[in-house]
C-alpha cells in the first residue's frame, strides 16, 4: 500500500523492538545501517520533489527530545486541551492539504522513534504527576497513527500500555484500514480509534494512498465490534458545488455502519493552511482544485474559507449529524469563539466545559 523503498536504521537504534518489528516485516525495502542521517537528508533535499521521496524513505532513529506535548492550538482559537504523543514524524500518505509538507519540508523523511521505553516512561510520569486531571492523548499530530502499524507494530505496545491508565484516553487517528493489530489487543476501553472522513471524490483527488471511504467505514465497524470506542473527524471539510449532498451521505453511512453509542465524538474543521503551503500544493498537485475555494487570511495567519461560508457549512454538518443522534458530542477544530457561538449558539466555557463535551469527568 505504501511504497517504502529505503529503510535507514541508525546504529544506536538497532536493538529497539520497533526496529526488529520493521526488519521482520519489510521484505521489499532496502535496509541500510547508518551512523547519521545527515547525508541521506542532504541527497533527498536536492531532488525536484523531496517530499515525495521522503515519504518512501523510512528512518529509524532515537528521539532526543520530549515525546509528549500539549496541542499548541492556535492564537485566539478555542483550545480542546489535547496532548500529542509523537512516536513518529511524517506520513506515507500524501494528502494535498497536509500541513507537514511545509512543516517538515527540510526534514521530509518518515521517522519512527526507536526509544519507545523512553516514550512510555515519560508518559507514565506525566500521568502520575497529574493524577487528578483527565487527558486526551493522540498520536496523530505529525503522522497517521496507524499507516505504518503493519510494519512497526506500535499499536501492540501503546494500546495495552494505556489500557491500565485511569486518567487518560488514547486516540489513534487514521485515514487507513491498517487495523489488523488492533483486533487482538486488550484495550481496556481506553483507546478510541478515529477516522478522518471525506467524500470519495476528495479521497481520490486529495488523499493519495489512503483507504477508501468504504474501507474506513468497514474498519470502524470492525473496531467497534472489538469494543473500541470510535470517533470521526470531518477535517478538513472541503467546500465545492454539491458538497452538502456528499457530506450528508457520509453522515448517513456512519450511522448505518456504526452504533452511535460507540461514537465518542465527531469533530468538524474547515480546510485551512498557511499561505506558505499554497505554492507547495500547486507545485506538487498540479490538477488540484482545493485552492480555488473562497479563502481569506485569518488573524492566526492561516487561510480559511470566508467565515459566513464556513459557519454555514458547520451548521449544516451539525444538523446532518443531529438528525441521527442529538447527543453525540460535536466540536470544532481550530475555530474561534465567534464561530462556535454562531454554530452552536454558545461557547464552551474553558477546558472543563470542553471536557464535558467529550463526556470526560475532570
Amino acid at each position: 500500500m505504501f511504497p517504502i523503498e529505503n529503510i535507514y536504521i541508525e546504529n544506536n537504534s538497532k536493538e529497539s523492538i520497533i526496529t526488529k518489528n520493521i526488519i521482520s516485516s519489510s521484505k521489499n525495502s532496502k535496509i541500510t545501517y547508518i551512523d547519521s542521517s545527515k547525508e541521506i537528508l542532504s541527497e533527498i533535499l536536492k531532488l525536484p520533489d523531496p517530499i515525495s521521496k521522503g515519504k518512501k524513505t523510512l528512518l529509524i532513529t532515537e528521539n532526543k527530545g520530549s515525546f509528549l506535548k500539549k496541542c499548541p492550538g492556535t492564537k485566539r482559537m478555542i483550545c480542546c486541551n489535547y496532548y500529542f504523543l509523537n512516536f513518529a514524524t511524517n506520513c506515507p500518505l500524501d494528502c494535498s492539504y497536509c500541513i507537514m509538507q511545509e512543516y517538515l519540508c527540510n526534514n521530509p523523511v518518515l521517522k519512527i522513534f526507536s526509544n519507545v521505553e523512553d516514550m512510555l516512561s515519560e508518559t507514565e510520569s506525566f500521568l502520575e504527576a497529574n493524577r487528578n486531571k483527565y487527558f486526551r492523548i493522540g498520536t496523530g499530530e505529525l503522522t497517521d497513527s496507524l499507516a505504518l502499524d503493519n510494519i512497526t507494530g506500535f499499536s501492540k505496545i501503546i494500546v495495552p500500555f494505556f489500557a491500565s491508565k485511569q486518567n487518560v484516553i488514547l486516540e489513534l487517528k487514521t485515514k487507513t484500514d491498517c487495523i489488523e493489530n488492533l483486533m487482538y489487543l486488550d484495550h481496556g476501553g481506553k483507546t478510541v480509534i478515529a477516522w478522518s472522513l471525506n467524500p470519495q471524490k476528495i479521497i481520490d483527488g486529495e488523499e493519495l494512498y489512503s483507504a477508501s471511504l468504504e474501507q474506513r467505514m468497514e474498519s470502524a465497524a470492525r473496531c467497534q465490534g472489538k469494543g473500541y470506542k470510535i470517533a470521526f473527524h470531518f477535517d478538513p471539510i472541503i467546500l465545492y458545488e454539491g458538497w452538502e449532498t456528499d457530506y450528508n451521505g457520509i453522515v448517513k453511512k456512519i450511522f448505518n455502519a456504526i452504533d452511535s453509542k460507540s461514537i465518542l465524538w465527531i469533530s468538524l474543521g474547515g480546510l485551512r493552511f498557511s499561505p506558505q503551503l499554497k505554492p507547495i500544493i500547486s507545485e506538487r498537485f498540479a490538477q488540484n482544485n482545493i485552492l480555488y475555494g473562497e479563502m481569506v487570511l485569518c488573524p492566526d495567519n492561516k487561510m480559511r474559507y470566508f467565515k459566513p461560508m464556513r459557519v454555514d457549512a458547520f451548521k449544516k454538518m451539525v444538523d446532518y449529524i443531529k438528525k441521527y443522534d442529538n447527543d453525540i458530542p460535536i466540536y470544532l477544530c481550530m475555530e474561534d469563539q465567534d464561530v462556535w457561538k454562531k454554530v452552536f449558539g454558545a461557547i464552551p466555557n474553558g477546558i472543563r466545559n470542553l471536557n464535558n463535551i467529550f463526556e470526560i469527568n475532570s
Binding site: 533535499l45 536536492k46 482544485n289 485569518c298 470566508f306 467565515k307 459566513p308 465567534d338
Partner: protein, 324 residues
Amino acid sequence: MMKVTIPGKISLKDIDLEDDAFSISYPKFLETLKTSIQEIGLLTPLILRSKNSSLQIISGYRRGIVLKELGVDFIPAYIFKDGELDNEEALRLGILENLYTREINHIEISNSLFKLEKDLSIEPEKIIETYLPLFGLEKSMFIFKKFISLQNLIDGIKTLAVVKKFPLKTLAKLSLLSDKDQESFLELATELSLGFNLVNEFLTLLEEIAAIDRVSISDLLLDKSVNDILSIEDINRDVKTKLLISLLKAMRYPHIHDFKKSIKSNIKNLHLPHEIAMDIPENLEGGTIAMRFKFKNKKDYQEILSKLIEISDSEDFSKILEMI
C-alpha cells in the same frame, strides 16, 4: 588545462559571428553596448577558440557584433588553439567570464543551464553539483528545473522580466502558460506597466479564475468587462489597474464580493454623519466592530450618542451584526 595568454590582435573577418553556441546573453540589446564601446572603447578582449578554419566566440558574442557594426577591422582577443578547450570547458569559461564582469539575469542562467544540458548533453546531476553553485544557487533539482522551465517563456516576457527584474518564482509561473496566454498577459502587463508584485497578483487571479471557469487566460482577457476598463480614456494606468484588480477579485471570490457589497449597502443605509465611522473587521474575522466618532463640543457629542442609539434599532444595523 587552460593556458593564460596575452591577447592578440585578430581580424574580425576571421571570427564566425554567426556561431552563438556559447552565448548566454539576454537580451541581445546592442545599443547600450555600442554607445559604451564608442565612448570608452573595448575594455575586455574577446575569448575565442580555433574551430576548423575560423575562430569561434567563447565569450564576447555581442561585442563582436557591435564591433563589426562599428566597422572595426582588428580586435583584441585571447585565442585557444584547436583541441585546447573542449565544449564544456568553453561554455564554462564563457559563463565565468560573464559572471566576473557583470550581473547575470535569470534568463541568462536559464540559457547557460539549458545549453549545458541540451547542447552538451551533460547530466542534470552534474550540472546541479558543478554549475548551480557558480551562480550562487543551492544545489537542487527543483531550482534547476525552475530555471530550465524559463526556456518556455516568449521573448517579450523574457525581455520584460529582465527589465523589471522579475523573481524566478514569477517567471516559472509564467513559463507554465501557453504562448497565447503569455502574449495576452504580456500585452496587459505592458499596457499597465506592471511591476512584479502586481504581475503576481494579476497572474494568480487570472490563473485561478481560468481554472475555475475552465477558460484560457487569453479568453479571460478578451472578456468585455476587462476591455471596458482597459478602454476607458480619462483615467490613468494606476486607476485602471485598481479597477481591474477589483473586477478580477469579484470574479474570483463571488460570495465574498456579494457579502461585502451587502454590508456596504447596510452601512450606507444607516446614514451615518461624517463624524461617525463604522469599521468592519478585515474579512469579517475577529468578531468585533469598531465605531469611531469625533466631536468638538458637548452638543456634537450628544448628537452623536443619539445617532448611535437611533441606529441600534435599525434593521440594517441588526443585519450587520448578524453578518459579523
